[in-house]
């Protein structure tokens, strides 16, 4: 049965069936073969609908729309022009600026996909145009986007909290230092990887001029961050505010939003968001039948049922999470594995808050591991020139950094837990 699913998915994907339909069709075949024949098909529309029946998902198309407006109007270009003037004399300067943007956006959105789309749509064309290697940029964006769920706020941490009863506030605090360390590691690696691009420093006058030009683009994130932190709107609603503000800037300041532009913006937005949402439907359908057949449960059980040292179990748990992360989306993995793992982890004497951070980093990995990795897909959706293979190759070093970071956290759990004690 496991072989059927793994082999079936590989076959569908390799002959060129789109990811969304590969997942969906495999789920349907799985239902037919292992879940009572065609009577199980009644569940298809139920699950397909419920996959999208979530208000927080509405942010995704809106963030896609916002990024399209930023690109077409030129707001994004001006922002990068400014970043370039300030950072270009550093090796890989724009890469550092991009990770910085990801971090800021992560800190406000709680969503990794939104981070990857929004930063990516602006950064990718500008960086490629300035001579950065497309593959490197794609890898950087896919990985930088995942910071969204490690740096608080973070939806997976809220889910972990409600499944285990751990304090969400403590989980958020535990994410801060790991988030900063991972951000810095990404920056350092990117800077080394892209060190060949180093321009002569801009003059202070050039910097000033570029900053003036980018002022509207700068006000946008300031307004969004301010609005979310002051509670005027939620991170989901922030997407709508972002669209409206970028529209106003495009119409009133840049004055270059024509009707033809608008038609193009609409169709691109529809294509990208329908593509991502349909993958979510496919992933949910496949997750449904796999869960029904208890495949992830059995794998988790087998991995933790062995009688070996706690550290071996921990390693196995991480491998299982990595494996599940390849095929399932993050919320499914959390609700399936956390209730099984939490009692084991605490019984073995590990700190549950620390383990939450380990879980979240694994969820970050799930977002960038093929075949089902949402961050890979949103980046692929940004531009036809991006191939999935290139994105995957680009992201591998960052995935390794995350794995190394998990190992580091095992030796120094204080990275996550040091500040937690002071909270209550």
């Amino acid at each position: 049965m496991n072989l059927f699913f793994a082999g079936g998915l590989a076959t569908f994907l390799l002959i060129g069936l789109p990811v969304a339909f590969s997942l969906g069709l495999l789920a349907v075949l799985g239902m037919y073969l292992f879940n009572g024949g065609s009577v199980a098909f009644d569940q298809v529309p139920i699950i397909a609908y419920s996959a999208l029946d979530d208000f927080t998902l509405t942010a995704l198309p809106m963030y896609v729309l916002m990024s399209q407006i930023l690109v077409v109007s030129g707001v994004g270009r001006d922002l990068y022009e400014m970043a370039s003037k300030w950072f270009r004399h550093f090796p890989g300067g724009l890469a550092i600026a991009t990770v910085f943007c990801c971090t800021i956006f992560s800190a406000i959105s709680g969503s990794s996909v939104a981070t990857a789309v929004t930063v990516g749509v602006v950064a990718l064309p500008e960086m490629v145009q300035r001579g950065y290697k497309r593959r490197y940029v794609l890898g950087l964006l896919a990985a930088g986007g995942t910071l969204g769920i490690l740096i608080p706020p973070s939806v997976p941490m809220i889910i972990y909290g409600s499944l285990t009863g751990e304090s969400v506030g403590q989980l958020f605090i535990a994410g801060v230092v790991p988030g900063i360390i991972l951000t810095l590691s990404f920056m350092i690696f990117a800077s080394i990887q892209m060190r060949h691009i180093k321009e002569k420093p801009a003059t202070w006058n050039e910097r000033w001029e570029a900053s003036k030009k980018a002022i509207w683009g700068l006000l946008l994130p300031v307004a969004i961050i301010g609005g979310i932190y002051s509670g005027i709107f939620t991170p989901t609603e922030a997407a709508a505010v972002g669209v409206v503000l970028s529209f106003l800037i495009a119409i009133l300041v840049y004055r270059n939003l024509t009707f033809m532009n608008l038609k193009k913006i609409i169709l691109t937005t529809v294509n990208t968001s329908a593509m991502i949402l349909f993958i979510i439907i496919g992933a949910k359908l496949l997750g449904f039948i796999l869960t029904m057949l208890q495949i992830p449960q059995q794998i988790t059980e087998a991995a933790t049922g062995t009688d070996v040292s706690p550290w071996v179990i921990l390693i196995v748990i991480n491998l299982v999470l990595l494996g599940l992360g390849m095929f399932l989306e993050t919320v499914s993995i959390l609700v399936i594995t956390v209730p099984m793992l939490y009692p084991i982890i605490t019984a073995l004497g590990f700190d549950p808050i620390w383990f939450a951070i380990i879980m979240v980093i694994n969820m970050e990995l799930a977002l960038i591991t093929p075949p089902v990795g949402l961050n890979l897909f949103v980046l692929k959706g940004l531009d036809n020139k991006n191939s999935l293979g290139e994105i995957v190759k680009g992201v591998i070093p960052y995935a390794l950094i995350m794995v190394l970071f998990i190992i580091l956290m095992c030796f120094f759990p204080q990275i996550a837990t040091y500040f937690v004690g002071d909270v209550q």
Partner: protein, 165 residues
């Protein structure tokens, strides 16, 4: 035949525009909710719920257009390494498989909404929207998908957009 082809393609494109309008509508509703709640202290009873329906609608109405424009992500690892004939065969198989999935989604989608209609299930909110209405997007999107995959089979084209891994 040619007229039917053109009409079908146009239908898919207009559905995509409608999907875009739904995304705009979501933006406006959500923005209105923010203004109304945070500046006038009056949250709406409808913005969140209708936005969710609109986005569901935008996905199902837009997905056929994404098929026609090769916007759905594919893995191009093998496809770019085989000869033209094999590639063409693969394309036919994929479109047929896509059609199969769309037919199941549509057929069972219709029977699903007829059950919801019979039971009179509403949303658990102040709006009490009959749930068969937003669920209608599933079979409608399914029919559009069926049309899209048939058109793909008629074209017999292969995806030219990708580059090799």
């Amino acid at each position: 035949m040619n007229t039917l082809y053109k009409f079908s393609d146009l239908l898919i494109k207009y559905a995509a525009y409608l999907a875009g309008i739904l995304i705009f509508a979501t933006t406006l509703m959500t923005f209105y909710e923010v203004l109304s709640r945070s500046f006038f202290g009056m949250p709406t009873a409808w913005a969140t719920e209708l936005s969710t329906y609109a986005i569901i609608g935008s996905c199902f109405l837009g997905t056929a257009y994404a098929v026609r424009t090769y916007a759905h992500i594919t893995v191009d690892l093998l496809v770019n390494r085989v000869n033209n004939v094999t590639r063409k065969v693969f394309a036919y198989i994929c479109n047929a498989l896509g059609l199969l999935f769309s037919v199941i989604l549509t057929g069972y989608g219709f029977s699903h909404i007829s059950l919801t209609f019979e039971l009179g299930t509403t949303s658990t909110s102040l709006l009490r929207i009959p749930m068969y209405l937003p669920e209608l997007f599933i079979p409608i999107g399914g029919v559009l998908l069926i049309i899209a995959f048939i058109l793909q089979l008629v074209d017999g084209d292969v995806h030219k957009g990708g580059d090799s891994l």
